[in-house]
């Protein structure tokens, strides 16, 4: 264990370093890539070393990935596609028969 770096939670964060409280407050911003480059790097470094924060990060990451998977499970029913194309045709829209994007609905 002696070759491992010190746990950053064991000592106050130095200049430019992130402590646990800061990391946990900014965890979702970090996961959403909404922090500036310096803060992203500070949080990333802390998570690499901290045995307390990493499991929480891992959990929240898995949680957000699970929500994102909902994207694959809900698509517009074919009826909705047909209704949209029919409504557009009524106001003059003329789909490209070659491209066939609009015709996917009726095909």
């Amino acid at each position: 264990m002696s070759d491992l770096p010190p746990d950053p939670c064991a000592a106050p964060a130095g200049p430019g370093e992130a402590d646990c409280t800061m990391v946990l407050q900014q965890l979702w911003d970090y996961l959403d890539s909404e922090l500036g480059p310096d803060k992203m790097q500070a949080v990333r470094t802390h998570l690499t070393l901290c045995s307390k924060c990493y499991p929480l990060y891992d959990f929240e990451k898995a949680f957000l990935e699970a929500i994102a998977d909902c994207r694959c499970t809900t698509c517009a029913p074919n009826d909705v596609r047909c209704h949209v194309i029919e409504a557009l045709r009524r106001v003059g829209f003329c789909p490209d028969e070659q491209a066939g994007i609009a015709n996917k609905a009726t095909g």
Binding site: M1, L4, P5, P6, D7, C9, A10, C20, T21, L24, Q25, Q26, L27, W28, D29, D32, E34, L47, T48, L49, C50, S51, K52, C53, Y54, P55, L56, D58, F59, E60, A62, F63, L64, A66, I67, A68, D69, C70, R71, T73, T74, C75, A76, P77, D79, V80, R81, H83, V84, A87, L88, V91, G92, F93, C94, P95, D96, A99, I101, A102
Partner: protein, 207 residues
Amino acid sequence: MALTPAEQREYDSSFEREALPWLDDVYRFALSLTRNEADADDIVQETYLRAYRSWHTFERGSDARRWLFTICRNAFLRTRERARHQVELEDGDVEAVASEVAENTGSSSGDERLLTRLDLGPALSDALAKLAEPFRSAVTLVDVEDQSYEAAAEILGVPIGTVRSRLFRGRRLLQQMLTEYARDAGIPTPITPVAAPAAAPQPHRYP
């Protein structure tokens, strides 16, 4: 000014190429707003009709999906009494949620196992459908549709801080609902982050 036949063909063709492929995404967002398939159907039609009529105003090369989401949101608002569906949050909420996260520090190895054990797909879809507005639209835009905070703020017509606040609160509410789901399924482990154990784990490097 009327378009020439060639211009009209290009107008329709570009609309078909750039706007129609996002129909699934617009439908998901509409469904998150209405929570009702028939209403979502109406909103999607209205969205595409408005988009088609305004297609000449769309800035080529910009984000068509974001543009459609904005139209969809506006179409929804026109069909609903806005006040009935909005829960206003104070600006301080985001700090309160951040504090809540900070308090819930510690190991969640049990939660990771729970995520593996639960079939989260149906549970999450169900929980997301039950999530109240305005949290649901924020979570749908950012977490499902992968919009930035800034894009979600523009689509929803609110400041970025409000999006964060709604998003973070919405995620916490979803986790609470999944905890209840787990309890109903007979799984005792809480799904939300738990308090730190008395004995901290030994420090080690994570991948």
